[in-house]
Symmetry: C3
Subunit: 266 residues, 3 copies
């Protein structure tokens, strides 16, 4: 199965028309950017992390995004509660294993999440995906530069074990589904100089999964839109901060034409 | 009583001259934006949420702003402590009932706050204000699009019950005081695409209430300044992220002339 | 010992080349800005605050930055754990005593940190440094305007007691080492209108300390780079929000020439 520009454009139109409520339990560093990116893309973000309310919030949401970038005891408790509730309600879950491999706590937490509730989509960089699969690649914090290719075996194993689409982000993003893999060459190196763009990609996966039950198509759509918005932004940016501003503006302004002309998928 | 451009300009000059310390207990998503907006407006923001210190911080503050956008047990405890202390110290309290109606936990919390310490000002969107008043309007997360007009009865009831000024934000903002209501038609639709501008409006209400004991005039001043800065920003913005940058710059640069020429109040 | 433009340029090249992992336990308000500033400068930021993982994160980091801007019980516990581990591992610690003096809780916390693990660098504004030294200067929240000069005695006492370099930020920054003091006149008044630029300076001190064991040179390098980037930004900014964007872009683009031509150190 291959995803065409037309499919991606159609999916983005669904996000913009349906404005799905995406419930995020994410890290402190990126919350603002993530919420703004979801709004720019046309989705409706909500953040809630109290064990007292996550189940109620999941109940009205169309997707759940869990990002382990800044953990603590009560947050992990809330993540597990929310994930269980999402399975009961049948809404798609997306995990972002930020910094897995850097500390045993993160590794334990992502495994507990994966085993409690298999996600529709798992998105991370190469070293994070390898660490999720039990690889001892070692990570240097949250911005590992390992090539996405190195994590393809891990991605395939995780796909088999949990039945989820696995996206390995990098200069080229690899999206691994059950019977097919897509490689996306869109994007720009300056994106790595903005904190939280990986987390933003994960949140966008949630927005697309909320409107399209085909997790593979949803992930490919989210990642290509991210990459194309990044390319459009880089043409105007003078550094990483103006890059972030231009990126969000591009996410808002991106047209079918932009997607058709820039798409680099194979 | 009607508020004139001259009143608003005078109030804004007070904020800029006195630089009142505004103590915020607010949600993670908007903290940075809120602090920057208060600084741009000339106020002095401080964030503190530990039960161990909120009373001491309230003691040196000129206003207390409580926003329930991301709750948890210890935060609610701190909010209640801070609110009680603010009543004792006699400084104005402003509540922002973010997402009330979305989960019972939020609804319980705002009622506990309202009953523990009646605020000077309560600001929310239509569905939040209806939910505060016990209406079962239901909310779609935190970005409800219900028209402000629909919440006017709720606003009047809350004003009577708690003696507070109630501001219902929307395309037209409605400010409900004891004997008078103001309608503010300033603002721009793009403002809804930036996370936390409602929370920012609430924080500005706190800054104006800190320098003007007339809560109605303070609220009207804050909301008109917000709306006018939004209009000025929209003329230059190319999307939601540049809109946010231009908005904060406008808040900083706005002059008496801008207010006089753009004010749409009735 | 005097620090030359050449020294500073050399230190900045080390940061960019080594991309040291800087572990931040910092406040919610500035996390995003701090991470983006470290990335723009070429360092690798990581945020982690759970007592369950801070020691593991310190173990792979090259510097630890602790900022007490938003405290709570578990965070203080994690800060102490991380600080102890940093001493064991021998990596430099930098403290930012945000708002010390405003509440007894903050004052207690910074003293507990100082006594548990003396830092390589302590950076604050004048009233914070005076409060750290036991002075009752009183603070108005976190944006005190007391002149840096007023805190020089306190800085010298703290330097003697804890053996750390003390930086007092202000219109002129004063860096106090054991046998020498530097005064840096770079910077721009608009920087005070952006929340978290002080915290950002502290984080940059961490990045420079990670690549240079001479804490005095590291602090001077960080503070001059901050000030020069601020000056470059102010030339293009139209208000505090565009100032922040321009500042981060300048941090990324700053060249040896910029440093040589603008350096104002004595």
């Amino acid at each position: 199965m291959s995803i065409s520009a037309k499919d991606i454009i159609g999916n983005y139109e669904l996000v913009r028309r349906q404005a799905p409520l995406v419930h995020n339990i994410t890290n402190y560093v990126v919350m603002n950017l993530t919420a703004n990116a979801l709004l720019a893309a046309g989705a409706s973000p909500v953040m809630a992390h109290a064990p007292e309310e996550v189940e109620d919030m999941v109940a009205i949401a169309s997707a759940l995004v869990i990002n382990i970038g800044t953990l603590s005891e009560h947050w992990v408790e809330a993540m597990l509660k929310a994930a269980r509730q999402a399975k009961i309600k049948g809404i798609p879950i997306v995990y972002d294993p930020v910094g897995v491999g850097a500390t045993p706590y993160r590794t334990r937490t992502i495994h507990e999440l994966l085993q409690t509730a298999a996600p529709a989509i798992l998105r991370g960089n190469a070293s994070e995906i390898m660490a999720c699969a039990g690889g001892g690649a070692g990570t240097k914090g949250v911005d590992s530069a390992a090539a996405a290719e190195a994590a393809l075996d891990s991605a395939r194993r995780l796909n088999e074990e949990y039945g989820c689409v696995v996206c390995v982000s990098g200069a080229t993003d690899h999206v691994v589904g059950q019977n097919h893999t897509a490689m996306i060459a869109n994007g720009h190196p300056m994106m790595a100089r903005i904190t939280g763009l990986g987390c933003t990609a994960t949140a966008l996966c949630g927005a697309f999964a909320a409107v399209n039950p085909d997790s593979f198509a949803a992930t490919v759509s989210a990642m290509t839109v991210m990459g194309i918005a990044g390319e459009m932004a880089a043409k105007k940016a003078k550094g990483p901060a103006s890059m972030q501003v231009e990126f969000l503006d591009a996410l808002y302004n991106i047209t079918g034409n932009d997607i058709e002309q820039r798409l680099k998928i194979s």
